[in-house]
Symmetry: C2
Subunit: 205 residues, 2 copies
DNA sequence: ACGTAAATATACCGATCTGTATCGTTTAGC
DNA sequence: GCTAAACGATACAGATCGGTATATTTACGT
């Protein structure tokens, strides 16, 4: 492994283990063993474990939001359908065999003090995701974009929480349907894709 | 302190600390110090820390569901309004200064293996709460009680998750409004209380 | 009131935790 | 190719972890 890749490899390894076992339960020794790296090397890149956690969360924050953006934008150009596509992206995340809940919620759950840097990093991620929902709602020319973004955010969080304990993707599908029911009278265009509308027509002709 | 109270006192102390700091971050030494009890005493009542966690979760499960039942049943006898009263109960929980998120979600978040007894205890609590929602939906003579119970459950979980990071009760109020919007055409009676309807009439006569 | 079971305090165990120190080896940039 | 920085391996420090052992005192049931 090239030296320039070590830092990123450490972050990826740490993120995988944090996702699998949580933050307190994942020791430095396990991280370096899984990464195949000496302990000295880890502490040359990150001063403390907390710094490693913060760097990992920052990396994952940017990565996750970029993935969602890419998924949503290449799925449809219709601004309203893009709002709904966030649920499809979420469903894909939840269906991943490695899904163990939202790592930012876990981070906040293990670092509950509002002043804890880890908690603040988790909060910041949530704010940025919410801002993206607002951006989508604004583009969709919805009357109250902030309220709709809050609602989508709440449905997302509920779906992830229920999916985390039930180990099922069905809560995400249900939250999507709830979003459709909630918003289908508030926006200018239908909230189901043309393909789905065709399916529905074919099902009951 | 009487001997018969020690076990319960240990469970209460442990629950308080688990809620404040999480499970891994709360050591045995802190629990016994806060409880004012010798370590030997704790280990006479609970074989391991995991046993203590499981006993604490079981106690809190019964306590929390009994509190919700009591709150809901004494607030209104109308079965439909009782569904909505679960949100009011939730709002009271979230407004508590000690609120740090759902301790069962935290437990599942720190014990992610599906076979972990702690994870299973958290899952069991969620199933029982969902069953109560179904019970309420059934009493309200709703067409699809299970689907509505799932929806309420999802809104609850979303509200708690968002409230946990934003440190606000507003997400709970929003989830309640979303529930009203979702169900007001599905049930036989209005979903706002007569007092709220009077307020609305007074506001715009 | 007495005897037993459970409480206490304290010391201790081995394991594990985060983090450092040492030192020999490898790599990257000039 | 030289040099300086980074890496690997290992040992270790000091704290804390969950859990035990022991010896003494306290409280409860009969």
């Amino acid at each position: 492994m090239r030296r320039s890749e070590i830092r990123g490899h450490l972050l990826d390894t740490a993120l995988r283990l944090f996702n699998l076992h949580g933050y307190h339960a994942t020791g430095i020794d396990l991280i370096i063993a899984e990464a195949g790296v000496a302990k000295t090397t880890l502490y040359r890149h990150f001063e403390t474990k907390e710094d490693l956690i913060l760097a990992a969360l920052e990396r994952r924050d940017e990565e996750a939001r970029a993935e969602m953006r890419t998924y949503v934008e290449q799925r449809t150009s219709d601004p309203v359908e893009r709002l709904m596509a966030t649920f499809d992206f979420l469903e894909a995340c939840v269906r991943d065999s490695q899904f163990r809940g939202c790592i930012f919620m876990s981070a906040a759950g293990e670092h509950k003090e509002a002043a804890d840097p880890v908690f603040r990093a988790a909060l910041m991620h949530k704010r940025l995701v919410l801002a993206y929902f607002e951006e989508l709602a604004h583009a969709a020319r919805i009357a109250e974009p902030k309220r709709i973004a809050d609602a989508i955010n709440l449905l997302h969080e509920g779906a992830v929480a229920v999916a985390q304990v039930t180990r099922s993707a069905e809560p995400v599908r249900q939250s999507r349907r709830m979003a459709v029911t909630l918003f289908d009278r508030e926006v200018r265009a239908p909230l189901v894709s043309s393909a789905q509308r065709a399916d529905a027509q074919a099902a009951r002709p």
